[in-house]
């Protein structure tokens, strides 16, 4: 098959058609268009940010006379000023885009994976398995996240990726709940019965029918999960149990707060705060997607 043909074949595949349709739906509203726009910008920043950063993110800036330039307010040279160590805030913000994004995406992905597996298994298999899994979810809900995350971090160390893993491994609970109820609904649909009656195996049904039908919802919850992960990571950073050498936005706020300069060095704390808020808001708005996207389940 030539490339063109392959592209065309792909374009005509059910998957592509559905994806296009979903995208079109999402883009049809002003709010979600805005959210998309913001996310696109963040994504681009995440990819090229480190390249366009004007200074190395951890280089202490000094004046010509060798004096440390700390707490410099914004200037042409340093559009977002400098921080307590005299590092260029803009550069850190740009690097932070990537690390924050990685945190969000990986943790969100992990949440999705676990939540989806648990939710789907519970929903589809039912019976004892279901009650067992749902009790597990209840149990997870019973855990106060921040303190528990600290506990886990002391188990596994406060590495950048460990934190991501911990976020993902605890926060999947809300996804599991929603997915399960969704699967419970879907599995009652006659088309599932039809497939079963035609001899389709459980894995087949899960893969071909259930998964695609919850894909939209899963995608939206993935978006919310990413947002949640970014928020919670910021919270953990604030407490000071994440790796502070990887400048995520959360770490930037934490550092500003630790230096007690949130308000007076506003150029240091507000940009990451605003970026977090914008990103998370966009993800939420996207996650809300179409009407009544199961908001009521998202109590975390």
């Amino acid at each position: 098959m030539s490339v063109a043909e392959r592209v065309r074949a792909y374009r005509d595949s059910d998957f592509a058609i559905i994806a296009r349709r979903t995208l079109r739906n999402l883009l049809s509203e002003r709010i979600t268009r805005f959210a998309f726009g913001v996310l696109l910008v963040v994504l681009i920043l995440g990819v090229v940010g480190p390249m366009i950063a004007p200074y190395p993110y951890n280089e202490q800036q000094t004046t010509a006379s060798g004096e440390l330039m700390r707490y410099e307010p914004p200037s042409l040279e340093h559009p977002l000023g400098t921080n307590d160590r005299g590092e260029d805030v803009l550069s850190r913000l740009l690097i932070g885009a990537r690390t924050t994004l990685i945190t969000g995406l990986l943790a969100g992905g992990l949440m999705m994976t676990v939540g989806l597996s648990v939710g789907m298994t519970a929903g589809y298999v039912g019976g004892k398995t279901e009650s067992l899994l749902m009790r597990l979810v209840d149990f997870m809900y019973g855990i106060p996240f921040i303190p528990f995350a600290i506990v886990l971090i002391t188990f596994f160390g406060a590495g950048f990726y460990t934190t991501i893993a911990i976020l993902g491994l605890v926060l999947w609970r809300f996804i599991a709940r929603v997915i399960r109820s969704q699967v419970l609904q879907i599995k009652q649909r006659p088309y599932i019965m039809a497939a079963r009656a035609s001899g389709a195996s459980t894995p087949w049904i899960m893969r071909k029918h259930i998964l695609p039908n919850i894909a939209n919802m899963a995608g939206l919850f993935f978006a919310m999960g990413v947002g949640l992960a970014i928020l919670e990571q910021a919270g953990l950073s604030f407490i000071g149990v994440t790796d502070p050498f990887t400048p995520t936005w959360g770490i930037m706020i934490r550092n500003a707060n630790q230096a007690g300069r949130v308000a007076d060095a506003w150029w240091w704390s507000f940009p990451p705060g605003i970026m977090i808020a914008l990103t998370v808001l966009s993800l939420y708005l996207l996650g809300r997607g179409y009407e009544g996207g199961g908001d009521d389940e998202v109590v975390v």
Binding site: D138, G142, T154, G227, L231, V262, A263, Y284, V299
Partner: protein, 333 residues
């Protein structure tokens, strides 16, 4: 199944769940590297003394012995002594829980009432400007990290405008003054409310999203229900209809309320820290850092039980609020 039997069964399940949680917590924390004595070592305590201490605290015994002891103690309502503070965990934790509750309960309640009303308005103005901007607003407040929100409020209202104090529950002299008086006396002081305003506002702004959005969806959904149409056709006046809509739409919001109340205990850790609120969250964090197992175990247990009971309560509440919910059906959901 009769309601009574259902209740008994749910209670049993809940009790088992709590037991499991307690066990899991025990195991988890014992697997953590280090215990409180490590801190003592560093601070210069004699190794022999540490050994004696570990024996005294029962940390030297094999895990299963410790476990049995822990469970037995729990059953006899003995939650142990804090290693770090050497005082009964209960005495340490109880006032903190009370303080947290004083902040959380009214704040979350107000959030649910105000958020719910706001959501109801949004739901009625479906498709309108108010709805769209409302959704964005409540979501936006939930997108700002809560601690950052708190810090901003402090920066604006305390540091810059000087309207509210920056932190704490009462000014120090006042809290000394009223310390021998009953707890509720502080509620009579204007000063308390000044301290209360900012943390309260933070909790409210941050958590407004849930009730508002759920209420909105719920109102939209209920407004489309047949029985409402029927009510209208029966000639009930607009105000009565509205009351009915709110009553029906509140169901999911009301049932979410206990869980939210419980869940926010962990969410509030950061807000408590920012506002220096003497609540349970900050104690928990510092206890985790210090490996003060009896305290951690107990607080986690309290949190878990709170959530579990919250769920339980919701189930019961649902049965009361909605006569359709058959008690046997809701088990395992």
């Amino acid at each position: 199944m009769s309601r009574l039997r259902y209740f008994a069964r749910r209670t049993a399940v809940t009790a088992v769940l709590i037991f499991l949680v307690a066990s899991a917590l025990f195991l988890f924390f014992r697997l953590m590297p280090g215990d409180y004595t490590s801190l003592l070592i560093q601070q210069g305590m004699d190794p022999q003394q540490i050994e004696a201490l570990r024996r005294k605290w029962g940390l030297a015994a094999p895990l299963h012995v410790q476990y049995v002891r822990y469970i037995v103690n729990l059953l006899t309502a003995d939650v142990g002594q804090s290693f770090r503070y050497g005082e009964p965990v209960w005495d340490l934790v109880a006032p903190r829980i009370l303080n947290s509750f004083v902040l959380v309960a009214p704040a979350i309640t107000a959030t649910y009432i105000i958020g719910g009303l706001f959501g109801a308005i949004m739901g009625r103005r479906r498709g309108g400007y108010l709805e769209k901007s409302g959704i964005i607003t409540v979501s936006a407040f939930h997108s700002i990290p809560d601690f950052f929100l708190g810090i901003i409020l402090i920066a604006v209202f305390s540091s810059t405008l000087g309207i509210f104090p920056t932190s704490g529950m009462l000014s120090t002299p006042t809290s000394i003054m009223i310390q021998d008086q009953p707890y509720w006396r502080r509620f009579l002081l204007p000063e308390f409310w000044k301290h209360y305003a900012l943390p309260f506002a933070t909790v409210m702004l941050y958590f407004m999203q849930y009730p508002a959005l759920i209420m909105r969806n719920s109102v939209v959904e209920v407004s489309d229900q047949e029985f409402l149409h029927y009510h209208r056709l029966k000639g009930l006046p607009e105000s009565t209809l509205l009351r009915k809509i709110i009553r029906h739409a509140s169901l999911p919001v009301v049932t979410l309320y206990p869980i939210s109340l419980a869940a926010s205990i962990s969410g509030l850790v950061l807000i408590e820290i920012v506002f220096n609120w003497p609540g349970i969250g900050s104690l928990l964090v510092s206890s985790v850092l210090a490996r003060d197992f009896p305290v951690i175990q107990f607080v986690f247990l309290v949190a878990a039980v709170w959530v579990i009971l919250g769920n339980f309560l919701v189930d019961l509440l649902y049965g009361v609020l909605d006569p359709r919910v058959s008690v046997s059906g809701s088990d395992g959901e």
